[in-house]
Symmetry: C2
Subunit: 636 residues, 2 copies
Amino acid sequence: MNKQKAYWIWYPGDLELYHALKQNFSRVERGCAWPAFWKSDGFRQRVTYRRSYTLSSPAAFRAVGGPGTVGYVLVNDRKYPLGGEVPCPAGAVRVSVHAACIGCVPAVYVQGDAVFSDGSWTAEDYCLPPVPAACSRYFTESSQRVDEWPMLEKTFNPVRAEAVQGGALFTFETELTARLRIVPRSPGGMPERVFLGESREEALAGDQCYFSCRPDPETGLTPRQALRFAFLPGVKPRDVSVQALHQYVDIPVRARFACDDELLSRIFSVAAHTFSLCCDVFFLDGVKRDKWIWGGDAYQSLFVNRYLTGDREIEQRTLTALRGNDPPLTHVNTIVDYSLLWILGAAEHADAYGDPAFLARMLPRMESLMELLLAQRDENGFLTGRPGDWIYVDWADFDRDGPLCAEQMFLAAALNVLARLSAPEKAGRYRETARQLMEKTERCFWDPEKQAYVDSFTSGRRAVTRHAAILAIVFDLVPQERKRLLAQTVLFNDRVPPITTPYFRFFELDAMCRLGYLREVLGQIKAYWGGMLDAGAVTFWEEYDPKKPAQAQYAMYGDPFGKSLCHAWAASPIYLLARYFIGLTPDSAAPDGWRFDPPDGFFSSCECEFPAGERNICLSLKEGKWARTSKEYKKE
Amino acid sequence: MNKQKAYWIWYPGDLELYHALKQNFSRVERGCAWPAFWKSDGFRQRVTYRRSYTLSSPAAFRAVGGPGTVGYVLVNDRKYPLGGEVPCPAGAVRVSVHAACIGCVPAVYVQGDAVFSDGSWTAEDYCLPPVPAACSRYFTESSQRVDEWPMLEKTFNPVRAEAVQGGALFTFETELTARLRIVPRSPGGMPERVFLGESREEALAGDQCYFSCRPDPETGLTPRQALRFAFLPGVKPRDVSVQALHQYVDIPVRARFACDDELLSRIFSVAAHTFSLCCDVFFLDGVKRDKWIWGGDAYQSLFVNRYLTGDREIEQRTLTALRGNDPPLTHVNTIVDYSLLWILGAAEHADAYGDPAFLARMLPRMESLMELLLAQRDENGFLTGRPGDWIYVDWADFDRDGPLCAEQMFLAAALNVLARLSAPEKAGRYRETARQLMEKTERCFWDPEKQAYVDSFTSGRRAVTRHAAILAIVFDLVPQERKRLLAQTVLFNDRVPPITTPYFRFFELDAMCRLGYLREVLGQIKAYWGGMLDAGAVTFWEEYDPKKPAQAQYAMYGDPFGKSLCHAWAASPIYLLARYFIGLTPDSAAPDGWRFDPPDGFFSSCECEFPAGERNICLSLKEGKWARTSKEYKKE
């Protein structure tokens, strides 16, 4: 039997939902498990898989279920138990595998020369019409367990071992997501407890340290956890050997970027390393702290990922996990704007990869989520929150009286993508709804005197923040002339409070780039990300304030070590540099998926590569001229 | 700490859904697992439980989660891990337990003098408003596992051991749901495989036998399974000891019935035994064959249960499990009429027990299920099936062209109960819809010449079956005069094909009783159930045809041993005798829940008892006079 051709199969979306539950329930903070505080959608527990064959000769196969799965095989009208050899007559044959499991996805694996499981099977859940079964390159062996995502492993030795605070501190060259293997070299070498840190300070902070754990007394192994520093109290460095087994999902970085500006090259490289660490089964916001899958962070990751890995599967896994099942009853992570960003992100994904089967699966979910959103508009047609909903937009001092202007911008943007993707009748309704919404937004939120959108039209306070303006520009919701005006009245107006979160800085820098303020953006990239490198960062941080003293850099959200030092959104220079300074825009209509339109005057030489489907696009700037070639991508 | 007062708590309905998945996935047939073929609703995997206290002095407690549950405890704003001691200050205290679990219900147990978990806590699922947490008398100890329903155990020794077909056949006095404990008395005493049977014939049928299993080589135990006979091939009776460990849910039979007619007393007693065996975690249709929870069977069990055990919890568990989550997307067991019977059953339960909290939880589900049903009416307003739906009504030779008349009767009945239970505005709509439906049914299905309802008005065949007439009578859908007419034109008309299933015989006998044909019904009870007793039944069968030869009595559904020999619906004499011949009707307005209005002339003496809440109602007929008393019910 040729084992390579068979895949584990499951109901589309369900393995993602299962692993999303694992992911969102995996957070541990100072010994307390902290499962995510939003509605967590479950998977189907009863699925039947079917395939018809016309066999030229009798065949045999074996079907197995995942952990805890029960069921049977039907060949025409004859039943067989799971696990045993099943004979199959020649001729027209209907094969089905009936599977049920409470605690995990009822996935099955059918192995045989002629009869084997793959994406050509259908899956049924006894509710919806049959759909193509799902499978993945990660699950191809009958011996695999679908409840464990397969990881690659790389062993790191510490780059430094030192005696400190009566114990041993081990330093690794970079942040890792690793299990430690602790081997005592003498009787006192096995510590009772190990303290892990993204920073030296955290590992040495005792009870303030985010993660501590007891090594398994038999194997000396600790659970997989983010770390760069490990402190072993009461142990002398020479009495113990410590290695880190870095475990990661197989998603290779395919991009390269080197230019004559050494700092930019370093920023790209550290951003790539940072982002790669955050690519787990799903896009994670950061590797250490919450481990929950957040829609807003994931949205920004989509923009980086297409330039860095070109891995469409992690995008599809993340979008699928965030959205959950139909009908939607709550918002993504409870956040209304994250639901809108989910719709926008699903459209971004479709534009970048042009996968019609995935879009066909997502479009009804985009539309049903939009219906939930439209149903909760107020009497003026503005989007507001229901009890329990969170109108987030950003950590900013908004005037939150009545509907918030920025939220309407998100809604208009999401309506516009559905106006483009939906079938004509629905599209027309979405287009008209968006038009009316922008008209009302203009009427209610535009302040003619300030020449800007106010946060609230109900409070009378006429407070202006940057967010509505930025979103109007980024999502192309207003005419060019208005965008240029907003740049002057808001973006370059020092009296408007600055954006303080790197999350929204992404949108602001994107807006500036779209309006052509590339020099200004480049200066900010070098100052902000260059500043982190000067401060010793080996991965980019969740937030960086050069004015803060070094010892205060680790605090966030009221926690002394709450800040993530390896954070996905901090990788945005990859997107900004590739899109605006190299001039590469995803375009599923282009032959290799990229439109290349480089601006002048930023580099005197540059060598870079980006994923383009099965190949890599290679761009080279020499003596003022760009050359565009492509080459086969080979995994290293 | 007083352990008695604390309960395991969970989100209402979720433990039922978890155990319903276990139940519906537990069927095994000749070595093949056969999970139920309908949409199986899952439980919530993320729940938070809350309670506020005002403590006169500091207190401490401990919170634990069920198997696989992770989470933490919050006291005011301070976090503690699950499992450890949690200190609680005096004064106003907010306590919450945050729990998550993928494979089972995230139930928690809080144990302490002042702070402990019970039904006074609330549960939140991050979607709906908080609701009272659920708990049960079955789960009161911290050491319990919520994934295993607690069972009582009683050991039975075989009443007969015989050498036959080269092996040993052991016979027990009655059907059991038991594990066998096989202890060899000499080297050849442990069989490789054991064949179980409800009948001697089945146990000796080899590969045709429904259940065979390998005893655990270490303990000699077999899995819990229905059995009365056990065949051990290749073993001599003297070489082995076999016991049956009957495992059952603690639901005592509280009714007694003895009258001067010995046969009726025996029928009641065997029916009680039969029904009691079918009361597991849920109402099962039978103990052997499919083990799935069926809505139509459960509906009939409601009528027996209130007279026999008065256990409202098994009714609530079964109704909850059948219905699943909102919004409903499919019908109960995929059967449209079972959805309607679910609505009718939930109303029956409310009428019998008057539990406002349960009704408050069910009523929105009754209404949302009704909305699904109303949305699938055809252009004439008649209920038909969507693709994948099953319009069952009965195994009968209906004219199924277009809408089926009997299905409309079910719909009208369900609309009527909602017209009674729903809030006024909704109630008015349901009432009017029912009125219009009956008007249209009268216009389209009533055949003036035959003076009967035809199955189909679209085929032109004008076929008459009994079902529509029976339902019109039972559910009081037509005036008394019409009912009397239908008795003559249909019920007592030999040219209308007889009801052939005991399932629908329940409705037919009920209809006859309602019209006062008690002597006729009593005759049929004695003939049919008495016939089974004459044929050697120790529990009542799924079906009995006196014309079939003895060796053909075990076949059903095309399977030589497909017939269940211990079947819940066969216990209906309990309902018929108690309600119509004793004259006891449930009435939640009556002081002890029963209206007593005995008919004359059926017994010369009678002593009986039925559950009435915490007490038992006792009825005694001596010298033509009934005495009604009550006494405290004490569990034996």
